[in-house]
């Protein structure tokens, strides 16, 4: 902290001023729904009749609802896989594009962005056909490799449905992170690499000991995007398996949707949403405190 005490109060005022548009927008369109969800989570409500007060009843039910906890666990797995197969892989790809094959970086970047632009309905539809046990290309590929034993009904078996969905997510959202990392990796000054090369560093060393520390802020921002996106993930699960079979690929948002709009349990759905929000906020808070302390966040 370089500021002296005299600046503190004027800084506070300036900070408030700069923050106020965001505060207003969020208070109006986000905070009110949160309060509403918190209030509604205390009621049993089918969306048509008068709400019936339940007290903590919904929360007790939620605490003992194995479907919710398993769904939440799956969200965490989605987040973990997003960190590895979206954020980390994208950083590797960005490094390759910028440092190893810069001549082709523009065309590759363009192609990586394509799935990001295509609607999730289409991605989902395509992958349903890819995974189709009869005419799908996934089983055909295993057949061609002589691995007939690996052929299966990917989306329809409780053992593979969830993993199959996670694979699609990795392909679909990767491009966004590649785009964001390319910009960050390019901003690392050439001189730093040159110094390392004099010491005989290879790409592997340069990637881990120069690139990653130098783009710490981008890593932090992208991890945040990936984790929040993973915890709220809905569309691809909805299109590919609808959370089935028998909840085997259910995530929190699909479960919430089923409860609120399928089962007409709006109160319970609000409980799910409110709890998810609280847990996510606490989780993200802990993760970023840890990241900051570990110095990935740069200069705090």
């Amino acid at each position: 902290m370089s500021t002296s005490k005299g600046f503190a109060s004027s800084h506070n005022r300036a900070a408030l001023l700069f923050l106020s548009p965001a505060f207003l927008l969020i208070a109006a369109f986000v905070a009110y729904p949160v309060v509403y969800a918190g209030w509604l989570s205390l009621f049993r409500w089918d969306g048509a009749s008068a709400p019936v007060f339940q007290g903590a009843g919904n929360f007790v039910r939620l605490a003992g609802d194995p479907i919710f906890w398993r769904a939440l666990g799956r969200n965490l797995l989605v987040a973990l896989s997003a960190m590895v197969f979206q954020v980390f892989l994208a950083l590797c790809i960005a490094y390759c594009l910028v440092r190893i094959v810069p001549a082709f970086s523009r065309i590759f970047l363009f192609f990586y962005l394509v799935p990001v632009m295509v609607s999730e309905i289409c991605i989902g539809l395509l992958w349903r056909f890819m995974y189709n046990p009869y005419f799908g290309l996934v089983n055909a590929a295993f057949g061609a490799l002589g691995l007939d034993g690996l052929k299966r009904g990917w989306l329809g078996e409780s053992g593979t449905a969830f993993s199959a969905v996670v694979v699609v997510m990795s392909f679909t959202y990767l491009g966004l992170y590649v785009l964001l990392f390319v910009a960050a990796v390019r901003s690392v000054p050439e001189s730093v690499y040159e110094a390392a090369e004099i010491d005989g560093a290879g790409h592997f060393t340069k990637f881990f000991s120069i690139t990653i520390p130098m783009v710490g802020d981008a890593v932090r921002a992208n991890s945040l995007l990936a984790i929040i996106g993973s915890l709220k993930t809905f569309s691809l699960v909805f299109v590919l398996t609808n959370g089935g079979p028998n909840h085997a690929s259910e995530v929190v948002s699909t479960y919430l949707y089923k409860m609120g709009f399928g089962s007409f349990e709006m109160g319970y759905a609000a409980t799910i949403g409110f709890t998810q929000m609280l847990l996510t906020a606490i989780g993200a808070w802990l993760v970023f405190r840890y990241l900051k302390r570990a110095g990935v966040g740069g200069r705090t």
Binding site: N12, F29, F104, R106, M117, I121, C122, L180, P189, G273
Partner: protein, 278 residues
Amino acid sequence: MGAVRRWTVTNTVVLVLLTLHVLLVVFPFIWMIYSTFKTNKEFMRSVWSFPRSFSLDAYVGAWSGGALGGYAVNSLLIMAGATIITVVVATLAGYALAVYRPRWMPAVELGLTAAMAIPAYVALVPLVVMLRGAGLLDTHMGVVLPTAAFNVPVTIFIMQAFFNTLPRELFDAARMDGASEWSIFARVALPIARPAMFTAAIVNMIWVWNDFLFPVVFINSPARKTLPVGLTDFVGEHITNYPVMLAAILFAAIAPLVLFIFFERQITAALLGGAVKE
């Protein structure tokens, strides 16, 4: 960029691997393009085969089946509105959080994290009640404002991460010269923040362009529908004409891609402008 180097085995291996990977990633798109030239009968017969004869029926069907052009205009308007609001608001807030570091910042950060985490489905009913009260239901603004509000928290963190990287001496120097806080922001921070704002804008544009839930619930009039909502005009409960649907989806995806190709140079340049550390 860097000096010209020798082409090595590493380069070749990386190039081959990337090519294979990117082929896998764009395969959906290739499949989608050639499938649109098939008839539904051909499609039902074999999903993967190339068309035997090039039929343009799907495009005719897609164009006449929904007002795609009008939907695209609506999507563009909503995308532009929400992105501009989000980026402007988030740049101000991100700057404040990074540069002033108020003592109550952890509380703000926690609040923002919570705001990011709220599932949109939970917010539908209260938002509809509010928007109706404000006369914004079934208007473009009625989609723009909640969309912006939901995207602002994440965007603030993107901007904050950028402003964190700026050396504080930059601002202290201006302060010594007696510049007001606003002019420090406007004259010192804003010009160098452009690449980061650009990045944030791209991310937001992609999100808003593909967003489905808010437009489908908040918009009633066919004339104000967005593209993703309009695409459901082609999804049947029991019967779907796949080539027509894919042609419509292709149209929806092509608009942003064309924009990207068109502005690729500017985008790359703007992102490259982030090399402030040099």
